[in-house]
Amino acid sequence: MELLISILVGILFAVGVYMMLSHKLLKIIIGTAFLSHGTLLMLMTVGKLKRGAAPIIVDGVENAAYVDPIPQALILTAIVIGFATTAFSLVLAYRCYQELGTDETEQMRGDFTDEH
């Protein structure tokens, strides 16, 4: 199972990087979303994919198989952060499109020596 998910993570990364190499702002943003989903899956995989009880210690029950809760807490945090960043980048891309009149990164290039 871990192997399968690892390959999936790899595919997500590849798709994300491919999208980020394109010229359109929107594609780049979707690419970042793929990347962050890949990392979330990876976080989950390093915590070992297994079935088990919720990690709450109850009196009288010993040696129960618990699931490691930390990766899930980390994923939750990372999802929130990723959500905020994606929302912000979408707004920024829209505003860029409005102000600069283009969503092509090639045309957005500002020369370092020109007027600004």
């Binding site: 980020m20 780049i28 962050s36 979330l40 960043t85 980048s89 505003r95 102000e99």
Partner: protein
């Protein structure tokens, strides 16, 4: 020692941000008062924390909701963190003063102060945290606010550069999470003190070294080291001066701080490999940063490219990995936070008067604005490392540390970089302040530049003070460096604090 004091650097800016958000739409002076009070309170808290750790035998620890390490989130402040918190808050206060006096009302009234304190919360949080995932969260808070600050005002240039800045940081955050996942997968903990103990017990360090290099890339991207600095000059040039000053003075140093923290506490298993790479990268960063600056003919661009070469000095001490070298790094970070921000603030005042940043369109301002000119001169000389200013002593420490371990090539690189820094700083001085007077644009006489100057001068005075009080500064930096080189105290303090629960 367990204390609640070290939560304050995070909590004070957080509440100020919230209060300022509610004051939006009211008289802007209310927000200014709140901002000024909060900045003052943060400095006081910084001073108290610093005085508590100054004896050198205490590390302040806070366990969130009473969960003891390694199960809960801990905050831990040693001398290095305390110095960083204090300096960051001093610089922020000075930049805020320029924002009060020079920022246009469009920007200032458009949630400037809430975002400012959000970024301060992230920065202080990164300095005080003792948990590496918490470090990631604090980085994200800081970055989210920095995206907004870099785009506030929405000029075409700002939009363009902010988008690139945003993308670079999304990529680096992704890599950060990957590195965290690998580290957690190997070690099963994210508390830095606990990680340090567990990593030391691992026999085969090769995977740890791989992981450490991923962290190096992440922090290198934030701290702008070779070859990951390409985004920095343009992003830092576009926003108005108070924001550039905060970015240039404090933001990159957070990356450098994190790098020094992990490469002294966690990844010390294969120093011959990792720290030599850091040293080589430091040399390239210094050289390429300073050469980039020589080619420029714009006030602000020269300053922002110089950030890169200065980052090279900071990680040079880490690469040497001796107490004296690290002390040099710490001194250089403290010195550079102050001086770099003051230079950006001087640039802001100059640009407010002349309305341009181009060196060739300015000239002879020394006649009409002697205070501005000589103030800039002192700050510039401090950056270049002229005694008796603070820049000289930090570079002296770094270079003598290099000589101590017979590493002459890095010393040569540092000297060359210092020389070219002097060259480009005097270039600015000669073009802008020296020489024939060029006509100022209309309305220049009405700019209230005298009101803007105090913040610059406070920072210049701190730089002079740090230079004149070199011996106590060396002692403090040396004590901080010893704590970093021998993390026993840090680890024991964090692990010894008993939790209230569990």
């Amino acid at each position: 020692m367990s204390t609640n004091l070290i939560v304050l650097p995070i909590v004070i800016p957080m509440f100020t941000a919230i209060v300022c958000m509610f004051l939006h739409g009211h008289d802007i002076r209310l927000q200014r008062v709140a901002a000024a009070l909060s900045a003052a309170a943060s400095i006081v808290v910084g001073l108290i924390i610093f005085s508590r750790v100054l004896p050198g035998d205490t590390v302040l620890v806070f366990t969130a909701s009473g969960w003891a390490a390694p199960f809960g989130i801990v905050l831990a402040v040693d001398m290095f963190s305390a110095i960083m918190v204090l300096m960051a808050n001093v610089v922020s206060a000075a930049c805020l003063y320029l924002a009060f006096t020079s920022l246009d009302s469009d920007r200032e009234e458009n949630y400037f102060y809430p975002v400012w304190f959000a970024i301060m919360m992230g920065i202080s949080g990164s300095f005080v945290t003792g948990d590496i995932f918490n470090l990631y969260v604090m980085f994200e808070i800081m970055l989210m606010a920095s995206y907004v600050l870099s785009v506030i005002g929405c000029t075409p240039g700002q939009l363009r550069e902010s988008f690139k800045y945003l993308m670079i940081n999304i990529i680096s955050s992704t890599i950060f999470v990957v590195a965290l996942a690998l580290l957690y997968g190997m070690m099963g903990t994210l508390n830095m003190a606990d990680l340090s103990q567990k990593i030391a017990q691992v026999e085969d360090q090769s995977l740890i070294t791989v992981c450490s290099m991923i962290f190096f890339v992440v922090f290198g991207l934030k701290g702008a080291v070779f070859p990951l600095y390409f985004w920095l000059p343009r992003t830092y040039v576009e926003p108005p001066a108070p924001i550039s000053a905060l970015f240039g003075g404090v933001l990159t140093k957070v990356g450098v701080y994190a790098m020094i923290r992990v490469f002294t506490l966690l990844f010390v298993g294969d120093v011959g490999f990792t720290h030599n790479i850091i040293l080589i990268v430091a040399a390239l960063t210094m050289l390429l940063g300073v050469f980039g600056a020589i080619a420029q003919m714009d006030f602000k661009r020269i300053l922002s490219i110089h950030i890169i070469s200065q980052v090279g000095y900071m990680i040079m001490g880490l690469g040497l990995y001796t107490p004296w070298g690290l002390a040099g790094s710490i001194l250089h970070i403290a010195h550079n936070m102050v001086v770099k921000s003051s230079l950006f603030l001087f640039e802001g005042v100059t640009e407010a008067i002349t309305g341009t940043g181009k060196l060739k369109e300015m000239g002879g301002m020394l006649n009409k604005f002697p205070l501005l000119g000589w103030g800039f001169f002192v700050a510039a000389m401090s950056l270049a490392g002229v005694p008796p200013l603070s820049g000289f002593f930090s570079k002296f420490a770094l270079m003598s540390a290099a000589v101590d371990i017979d590493n002459y090539w890095i010393m040569a690189v540092a000297l060359i970089t210092g020389f070219f820094t002097l060259f480009s700083m005097s270039k600015i001085f000669f073009y802008v302040f020296w020489g024939e007077e060029k006509p100022l644009p209309e309305g220049a006489g009405e700019v209230k530049w005298r009101r803007m100057l105090p913040c610059c001068f406070v920072l210049v005075l701190i730089s002079i003070g740090m230079g004149l009080a070199a011996e106590p500064m060396f002692n403090v930096a040396m004590a901080a460096a010893n704590q970093l080189m021998d993390p026993e105290l840090y680890i024991n303090s964090v692990m010894a604090v008993p939790g209230v629960r569990g």
